[in-house]
């Protein structure tokens, strides 16, 4: 139905997945308005490229790949987008990385992501915010699955070390 350019069926797909796509882009950009603009572009691109979805992986995995590509393209093309995204990255990299007293006491996503570089942040968002498998992340980012695994492992180690997380916590 969708492959035959049925806007009604595609609208149903948008309703089903918009929350995940917008959340993903909000995590990446840390700007709701920008994320929603990108989400709109993402769904328009998805409409144009729907014939490339072969059904071999999950649809949301494919859609998030389109969203990530849209994000990267906008970052390259638009000065405004680039400024907002760079500002977000700068804040994440130079934001509060240590909390007085218990380092793991008030950890939110921004604080945790501040410990990681951009590539690690993207992979962790795919993995933990979107729940994609290593294979799906590998497809979305054009990285070998082994590289994805090692980036996740390295990012987790960074978080564990920086925030002194013990194995009994967060049980």
């Amino acid at each position: 139905m969708v492959a035959s350019q049925d806007t009604g069926a595609f609208g149903e797909l948008i309703r089903r997945h918009q929350s995940q796509v917008r959340n993903f882009l909000r995590r990446l950009t840390r700007d709701e308005t920008l994320a929603d603009d990108l989400a709109q572009d993402c769904f328009l691109h998805a409409w144009d490229k729907i014939h490339t979805y072969t059904g071999s992986g999950s649809f949301i995995g494919w859609l998030l790949r389109v969203a990530y590509t849209t994000f990267l393209q906008s970052k390259r093309k638009s000065k405004r987008y680039r400024e907002i995204v760079e500002q977000a990255g700068h804040e994440a990299e130079h934001g509060p990385t240590a909390i007085e007293g218990d380092p793991a006491a008030e950890l939110d996503v921004d604080t945790l992501m501040a410990a990681l570089n951009e590539q690690e942040r993207v992979i962790m968002i795919f993995s933990y915010a979107c729940g994609l498998s290593h294979r799906e992340i590998s497809e979305a980012t054009d990285m070998p699955a082994g590289t994805v695994k090692s980036i996740i492992h390295r990012a987790k180690e960074k978080i564990r070390t920086q925030f002194e997380i013990e194995d009994h916590q967060y049980g």
Binding site: Q5, R22, A39, Q40, L44
Partner: protein, 113 residues
């Protein structure tokens, strides 16, 4: 040990990334409307271009035909007379083409609705 520690980080990340679903609030409908507009623009682009092109080409085409008409005098009258009665004039050919393009567009619109 390392695995258990990783599990704690996993749990921390899972809870930190837990987010409420984003309310649709007309987001999906806006995109579908935009898509439908875009589809119509794409469908109308070619017929409109044909109509505009035909409108611009009409006058020069008529002038060319008028300029060529004297050449018909070179054709023996017995040969020219009968076919000329049946040949449509250039204005009718162009108008017919435009009507055909408009008809195709109308049919596509009816199919969509």
């Amino acid at each position: 040990m390392a695995d258990k520690t990783s599990d704690a980080v996993d749990r921390l990340l899972a809870s930190a990334f837990a987010a409420d679903p984003v309310a649709d609030d007309g987001f999906s409908n806006r995109i579908v409307s935009k898509l439908r507009r875009r589809i119509w623009v794409n469908r109308l682009a070619l017929p409109v271009a044909i109509l505009v092109g035909a409108a611009f080409a009409l006058k020069p085409a008529v002038q060319i035909v008028n300029a060529l008409l004297p050449l018909l005098n070179a054709v023996p009258i017995e040969i020219a007379r009968v076919p000329m009665e049946f040949l449509p004039q250039i204005q009718w050919v162009v108008l017919g083409g435009m009507a055909f393009a408009a008809g195709v567009t109308l049919v596509k619109m009816l199919e969509e609705t």
